[in-house]
Subunit: 335 residues, 2 copies
């Protein structure tokens, strides 16, 4: 491939001048500028960002590590991150942690080697030494969706507590008393927060949280299915199941369908995370929607701000909201 030196030779100028043209430096004569552009076109010149980055120590790239590519919540997040970053002239390099700490660290490492200017992480578990070191070194990192307590890293996440309270009230009003939670893992901040909010909401509504009704999963389809099976196999199964994320809901639906049970007549269902197809299931599913687009946008602004100013950023919490559909509707008067 043509190098800046070739362009310079072709245009009859020095490499410095070509570089100036490349960087829109105003102190280049119009006629010279035109000659340089002609040379670039003639040679199909594509500037080498690798060389440029080495010299400038900036890559105009941000790394994004998401929990699971197959989870539409993260895909939507990735989309908005991507859009906002491009708007700011940054490229996004994405890594899929697949909910595994080792894979997350693998990506942190390669992204650091590639010298991304900033890093957006949806941390997969409690602190790993690598992430801790990153935070302590004060690198431009922002946590997205999830946080890690004890680390001084700005974060963007949503708060579902109010929406969960509203959901539990809705369930009680619809006549449900025995409500179960297929939660996320306690190792994740989102898992813990949703579990706590659920317990608080149940107490507020004067409902009992039975220990056997609260089961931790891993935010993936398989655990949703397994937990649903366990709950339905109980001597006294729950009347309603609230799933900790959309993939666990998907697993739950599989199991409910496999058993030939009807929603909500046999068991009511609600989900954390709203996804496009929830309105097309039989029946449409009541869910708590997170402001994904807004979260992604904001996170990008925060990292870029940190990159450019070097200053610490604030954390932000955006509210989630309940979308009532038909999967929790009233139980018959006489059950």
């Amino acid at each position: 491939m043509a190098r800046i030196k070739d362009v310079a030779a072709q245009a009859g100028v020095s490499v410095a001048t070509v570089s100036r043209v490349l960087n829109d430096n105003p102190s280049v004569n119009e006629e010279t500028r035109r000659r340089v552009y002609d040379a670039m076109n003639a040679l199909n010149y594509v500037p080498n960002a690798v060389a440029r980055s080495l010299r400038t120590t900036a890559t105009r790239t941000i790394g994004l590590i998401i929990g699971d590519v197959l989870n539409p919540f993260f895909t939507e997040l990735a989309r908005s991150v991507e859009d906002e970053a491009r708007r700011e002239g940054f490229t996004v390099v994405m890594g899929n942690a697949d909910e595994r700490a080792d894979q997350q660290d693998h990506y942190v490492r390669t992204l650091l080697e590639q010298r991304v200017d900033g890093l957006l992480i949806c941390p997969t578990a409690e602190v790993t030494p690598l992430v801790q070191q990153l935070a302590e070194a004060g690198r431009p990192v922002v946590f997205l969706d999830r946080t890690i307590s004890g680390l001084d890293v700005p974060s963007v996440r949503s708060d579902g507590a109010a929406a969960i309270a509203e959901l539990v009230r809705h369930l009680r009003e619809q006549g449900h008393r025995r409500i179960a939670l297929a939660s996320g893992p306690a190792t994740l901040s989102t898992g813990r927060e949703r579990t706590d909010a659920f317990a608080t909401a149940m107490a507020a509504e004067g409902l009992e949280v039975r220990p056997e009704y609260v089961r931790p999963g891993d935010f993936r389809e398989g655990s949703g299915r397994r937990i649903t099976a366990e709950l339905l196999d109980l001597a006294e199964p729950p009347e309603a199941i609230f799933f900790g994320d959309n993939l666990m809901t998907l697993g739950g639906l599989e199991e409910i369908q496999a058993r030939g049970l009807r929603i909500p007549a046999d068991v009511a269902v609600a989900s954390f995370d709203d996804v496009t197809w929830f309105k097309h299931t039989a029946p449409p599913i009541t869910a708590i929607a997170q402001p994904t687009a807004e979260m992604g946008r904001l996170a990008v602004r925060l990292v870029i701000g940190r990159i450019q100013s070097g200053q610490a950023a604030d954390s932000h919490v955006l509210p989630a909201h309940l979308v009532i559909r038909r999967s929790c509707e009233r139980k018959g008067i006489m059950e």
Copy 2:
């Protein structure tokens, strides 16, 4: 950040030796190697891939440009590309063309600037000059899902013709005669192929393809909804609608639901692309499933093969298959 020079100083060796340790060169004394590792740890040294790439002219990175991140088909594809690439020690940089040729070209350009070793493209439209030039320069490019005729670029795609024939037979057997197609755009190879296969299959079953029943969309939700509305507003609306991809199906479902129509009693529905939630809709949706994981894996093997051998690769076509569910079931004897 620590540089190789710092590590060398700390370990009391030259940068050449540190580089040898970094690259597992066997001609380094064990004791020296240990000292170098200690120095790296002490300094939290992270090798600079930018500098390495500049010197070696290889980035161990492949670029992937997909049609639309919000389309689960592409997400699954991206996932398998990612997995396979990582297995081979490559990083994937993904760009979202959002089904727009200009945005596709934007990514081709930045990926080239970043000097990716190879490029996987799901081309968004007919040839752009940039893509053509790429192909002619013989760079390691592989087309995925879609092809561009006239360009000598190896590709990996699936063939739905047999499955579409099977689907049309199924529809006819279920008593449907007036079958419509909400197709993809004629500018995309997949759009054309599916339309042609549909016409062929209809002819084979002795069914008429009415011009007003074949309407081109753009593989996105909005066009699916618009076309469905147009079809249902016809004086004689179709009995069944076959959608060209999963997003158009989603749009179709919206419109059908908004009108309070039932599937398949009022209108039968089938989709190209199978996605997880099709089995949970009311009723579950008959669809044609592509071997996404296999396609992604194969494409990665092809580019990496081209990168490493420099030789041209073959194109591959993998079969799609029909998954019959309940959205096209028999019409009542007397309609």
